[in-house]
Symmetry: C2
Subunit: 203 residues, 2 copies
């Protein structure tokens, strides 16, 4: 009943290659796309056509940019400090850090993290690109600004390991501890344990 050219299976295969999408979900997506060919299918195809034409991943940092601004604005800005590179998981994290305004270096988005659950390994991160950047850019410090869940911790450990050959480079991570505007009774044991382990002298 499914047509002989295998184009249903091909669509399922492609959807299945998206991050976090198993074969069953890919099939449900494909059936839904066909069932809504005049709305969802049409809209998604248009959206992908527009995105393919008008958007790029910055070849340097991985942020979303346009074809005529690649590397992106932040990567080419002469006002940023070339000596400090902040590694984040997602381009969205760059926006968050820019909004906070306490970082003036360059960025590098991994576009993912190690995740057994999502089936993402080292090859799914932009690690090779990071290594090439470190060889060619005058980076003196890499700040690992990853999230604080188990998978992100594993990703940070992997990157720290890969950075070991760069003897002179400082590798730091964001401080772990109590969030602002909260109290000890509201903290989970892991956060409190990290805050205690990372306690600092009061000058």
């Amino acid at each position: 009943m499914i047509n002989a050219d295998g184009c249903f299976e091909h669509m399922v295969d492609c959807l299945n290659r998206l991050p976090g999408i198993g074969i069953r979900t890919a099939e449900r997506m494909a059936y839904r796309l066909l069932a809504q060919s005049d709305t969802l299918m049409r809209d998604l195809r248009e959206a992908l056509d527009r995105a393919a034409a008008g958007l790029r991943c910055c070849e340097q940092c991985g942020a979303v940019t346009t074809p005529d601004q690649n590397p992106c604005r932040l990567c080419v800005s002469p006002e940023r400090d070339d000596h400090i590179l902040c590694v984040v998981e997602s381009p969205e994290d760059i926006l968050v850090l820019e909004r906070c305004g306490s970082f003036r270096g360059r960025y590098h988005a991994l576009l993912g993290k190690l995740s057994a659950h999502q089936g993402d390994g080292p090859a799914d991160l932009r690690l090779d690109r990071l290594m090439r950047r470190l060889e060619h850019e005058p980076v003196a410090e890499v700040v690992l600004a990853l999230n604080t869940d188990v998978e992100s911790d594993a990703t940070a450990a992997l990157i720290a390991e890969r950075l070991r050959p760069f003897k002179k480079m400082k590798v730091t991570r964001l401080a772990h501890g109590l969030p602002a505007g909260s109290g000890l009774v509201y903290s989970d044991p892991v956060t409190l344990g990290r805050a205690m382990a990372g306690r600092q002298s009061v000058d």
Copy 2:
């Protein structure tokens, strides 16, 4: 940094409309598509173009068919019994039932089920189409051939409710009980309970 036309957001919105895809997953999919614009993005766009051109949901039963065979082969076959209609969740279920060979009526695929988890309600099933078919086709019996999980049971209950106005129509469901080639000690309590409740006289 994300471009002003909002075409990244538009892509995320469209992906977010696919079944089972939350906003975070849609964002990860969008970033991955941009990061792999020469492979994954290109392949997916080609696959959707081919599917949009070469595949249709059968307007009658919901199975996958081609534009020049719509309604599909099973819906127009003169060898099938018009008086009995089998309601399934997915077009795949039609293939499974055809392989087993013990049904010679027509089919109707819902293309989903009620699912709080996936955010699918009655409007996401092909229920209106089912109602229209029952008004125009000489159906004497509807067989609910849904799966046996909680969500499918809820879906079956909803359909049974909607079918109540068709006074003369028989509504049946597949038998629940022990699977073939198994033993009592391998059965879960729910299956065994249903097998006991549905026990039949031995003639």
